[in-house]
Symmetry: C2
Subunit: 190 residues, 2 copies
């Protein structure tokens, strides 16, 4: 698939069929992630592949707990109707973790220590594009507590879970949300 | 260009020719960035386009100041030989900023408030891929102080500068750095 087509069409998918994702396809998606840039080529990412129903159920429950807490803190009514059942339907979840020590020179900067997060986010974007080009839907998901999710997945304290990526055949859609006009987003420095 | 070719070939470029980047090309690259996902489609990004030599010089000087400070703090000898002259040679720099208030539900999470950084990083990755597909080199650059760079560019305190992206015709290379083997980076949750 053409790069610009993939970039333009890729959209968040929240309804998946339970058709399994083939191993070769999954590896292509992760390999795409691993081609992202990172500070001093530190490659701070690791990919935790989740396919077992029981583990998905635990993530789902953690997400419900998190959603309830958010609803109480934010008062955002839309959260109440936001369903996260796709977490158990989706054939594959990939927890993308980053190592905070692998942020390059960034760790010495005032605003620093985010290099590993940026690199992981770039890797995730590659993965979402790759999934789309391979006919799959995807979602960048972050509605979970850091400590809780690491406990569920058995991930050590040296890693941070940047996001959980849902990957599977879309049951319908996905539908691209609208973007601002470019004129609203660019400024020319004179 | 095929998506997987762009993902595989894209590499950091640190040597640019001074050939200008056409306006249409530049808009294509920014449009690609704007197609990235963001928390609740908040689109937290803005793009500050820098083409004036005087501004590039100021960024270069800020980068030298920052490099000196890093060298003192880190003791990393390689920093001494790391040249940043490409900041003045490169035809276009784009400062990608993010609005911390546009992180979605993330702001209520324990590890939260990073959603806008992730979205901007995803936008940047789209831009780097787009630049490559359009025959241009690019670099994700973060060696600057947050307050200092905002002062140079006249960017208000509500925005964070996530990175400065260099874009231009490569004078040579770029050469892709090696990646780990996939087996070193994946874990299967049982």
């Amino acid at each position: 698939m053409d790069l610009f087509t993939a970039i333009r069409e890729r959209a968040s998918c929240r309804t998946y069929s339970n058709e399994p994702v083939g191993e070769e396809t999954l590896m292509k998606i992760i390999e795409a992630g691993m081609q992202a840039p990172s500070p001093a080529n530190n490659q701070p990412w690791d990919f935790f592949i989740i396919t077992r129903k029981e583990t998905k159920m635990k993530i789902y429950e953690e997400s419900l707990r998190c959603k309830k807490g958010l609803f109480e803190k934010s008062g955002w009514k839309w959260l109440d109707s936001y369903q996260v059942g796709f977490l158990t339907d989706v054939p594959v979840l990939i927890a993308v973790t980053g190592d905070p020590a692998k942020s390059g020179a960034d760790i010495f900067l005032e605003q620093g220590g985010l290099g590993y997060q940026h690199a992981c986010a770039a890797a995730i974007q590659n993965m979402l594009l790759a999934a789309h080009a391979l006919g799959l839907g995807s979602l960048w998901y972050t509605l979970f507590g850091q400590e809780e999710i690491k406990k569920i997945l058995g991930i050590d304290d040296k890693r941070a879970v940047v996001a959980i990526i849902c990957i599977g055949k879309p049951a319908r859609g996905p539908f691209k949300t609208k973007r601002a006009k470019i004129e609203e987003k660019i400024f020319r420095i004179s």
